[in-house]
Structures are given as structure tokens and as C-alpha cells.
């Protein structure tokens, strides 16, 4: 009971946990989803083939 009770005791702590939790979940989900997508489409996207054309340039 200790952990959850401490979470709900102070509203500021509760809100803070929700906000940081949402931020972290968003970040984790986006990173995972994008990496899966890039894995499925490996070799098809521009970022996979642009090294062939960028070598001689500065950018």
C-alpha cells in the first residue's frame, strides 16, 4: 500500500507522475513504432539510400 498511497497523497505528486508518465510513454511509443517501421522498410526509404549520393558533398 505504501507506493500507491504516497502517489495519491499529494496532488502535485499525482499530477507530476501523470505528466511525466505521458511524456515518457509518448517518447517510448514513438521511438519503438518508428524503429519497427524502419525495420520493415529497410532499404526502401531515402535515409537508407542517400549515402550513395551524399558522399562527395559537404552536407
Amino acid at each position: 500500500m505504501g507506493g500507491l498511497a504516497a502517489l495519491f497523497r499529494r496532488n502535485a505528486v499525482f499530477l507530476g507522475v501523470i505528466f511525466t508518465g505521458a511524456f515518457a510513454t509518448e517518447l517510448a511509443f514513438e521511438t519503438t513504432a518508428n524503429s519497427i517501421w524502419d525495420q520493415i522498410n529497410r532499404g526502401r526509404q531515402w535515409k537508407d539510400i542517400k549515402h550513395r549520393y551524399m558522399e562527395s558533398e559537404d552536407e
Binding site: 511509443f29 514513438e30 513504432a33 518508428n34 517501421w37 520493415i40 522498410n41 526502401r44 526509404q45 531515402w46 537508407d48 539510400i49 542517400k50 550513395r52 549520393y53 551524399m54 558533398e57 552536407e59
Partner: protein
Amino acid sequence: MLARATLRAAGAAKTGVTGLAKRNASTSSSSEAAAAWKNNALLASSTAFAIGSVAWYYYQFGRQPYAMTPQEEGLHATRYPWEHEKLYKTFDHAALRRGFQVYREVCSSCHSLSRIPYRSLVGTMMTVNEAKTLAEENEYDTEPNDEGEIEKRPGKLSDYIPSPYKNDEAARAANNGALPPDLSLMVKARHGGCNYIFSLLTGYPEEPPAGAVVQSGLNFNPYFPGTGIAMARVLYDGLVEYEDGTTATTSQMAKDVVEFLNWSAEPEMDQRKRMGWKVMAIGGVLFALSVWVKRHRWANIKSRRMLYQDPSIGSTPAAKQPGSTFRR
């Protein structure tokens, strides 16, 4: 019941004033048989009429209208397994780059691509410097200068790919009266999309089949509605030289240029599919959650048992009067 009552009323009306003196028609056994026969006939005829009118309406308006002959409709395009049309696949950007090369070297002599600016090529199939170099090969009108003259300037990334003709009339005049359509949205604009364009590009026979009438100035292509197309076959093996070493066969070039034209019609496709899968994932989790919450909330209601104990039988005192609440 209603039909029977109606029939009875009609029978009573027919017998007229004399019928009033008689017994009720429905109680007499001989007129009962006659009423049943009439009833059946009425039901059967109205059913037949309903079926007949539906059939007639379908015959008149329900059928698919084929106003044109199969030749005028054009041959249906073969369905090919396009990789980029799968729900989880992006465009193959190497193919887009090759397709753009085919467009530039072959198609662009007649067909415009007026909705594609150079900037959209950057990060899709070209680097910034390549796109800038390409844009600078063409001249565009400037703003009017101090004397009101409009001068020419080299193209910038924000400029759109120039059209081969000044306007549609010039295009018609140069092409024997036929207007080469703009290709920006062609994949969306034609029935069959990618399959149609690929079939059209690769579907020119060596010579028109026996009996086919081809007007002068037109070419035979079975996939083109009407089969007479002003564009001649343009793609031949080895027509362009790909920089990535891909062998430029007719079908390879057609496939690449079709994928490029699909990109020009739907440049947002990669992003759309990626976002779509994220929506499906989040939406799936939320849906499962809502199902769980519903079951949780209903658990009490669904698992409860309601008992009724007659207050007059039990050991508990009976309710004082009807309607008064009984509580244990």
C-alpha cells in the same frame, strides 16, 4: 384478419339491403369457402404483382449500363503485386529516383508535371545540391523590374517543374491535335491506377491485330479506351542508362516511372501509412481498455442474484398493506 374483415365487408356490400336481413356472412358455411378462395387469390395475385414490379424495375434501372463496346472500354489492366501498395510498405525511393530519371529523359518531352516543385524532390529522391542544379537548368520569369520589364532568372527550389509547352493549344498543335495530359495526378485520375499505366506503357503490340482499324496518326494499344492512342510506344530496352546499374528493360522503366507517378500523385503516402499504423496501435489499446472497463463496471450487475421472498409466508412480519415496501 384485416383482409378477411375487408372481404366480409365487401361481401356484405354486394348483397346489399337484402343481406342485412340474413345472418352474418362469415357464419354461413357455404360463403366461408368462397371467402377463403377469394382470400387466397388476392394474396397470390398481390404477391405476383409485387415480384413482377420489382423485377420490372430492376430490368429497367438496376442493371449495369454498358453504353460502350468492349473495344471502346479498353482492355482491363492486369493486376500486378505492387510492393509500394502494401499497407506497411513505403515507396522504394531508389525506384522513385530511377522513375524520375525516366520521366525527365522520356516523358517530359511531351507531358508536363506541373504540380511538383523541385523542393519536394529534396529528401525524397535527390540531395539539395542535385535539386538546385536541376532547377537552375531552367529559366523562370522574374518580378517586374524598375522599368516594368519581366526578365529571366535561373530556377530555384521553390519553382515548379516546367511544362514542355506554353499552353494546351500549343501542346495540341505539336501533337497532331492530341493533348498529352499532365501526369502529376495521373495515377489517381485513371481507372486502374498503377496497373493501367504500366499496362499501357508495356502493352503496345508489334503490329495491330488483324481486323483492327487504326486511324492515321494513331497507334494501337488494347488498354487505351478506344484502342487508338496518339502516343506511340516510347519505352524500349536500354533507352535510359540508370546510374545505380539497374538494367533498363522496358518493364523495369515502366515500373519505375509508374512508382514515380504514384509518388507525384500521393507524396504523403509514406507518412500517411506510418501514422496510420500508430493510430491502429493506440486505438487497439484504447479499445481493449474500454472493453475491460465495461466488463468491470457490469460485473456486479451481471453476477447478482435477485430473490423475492413472499412477506406473507416468511417468518418476517408481513407488509402492512399492498404497495408498502417490505424490508428485511
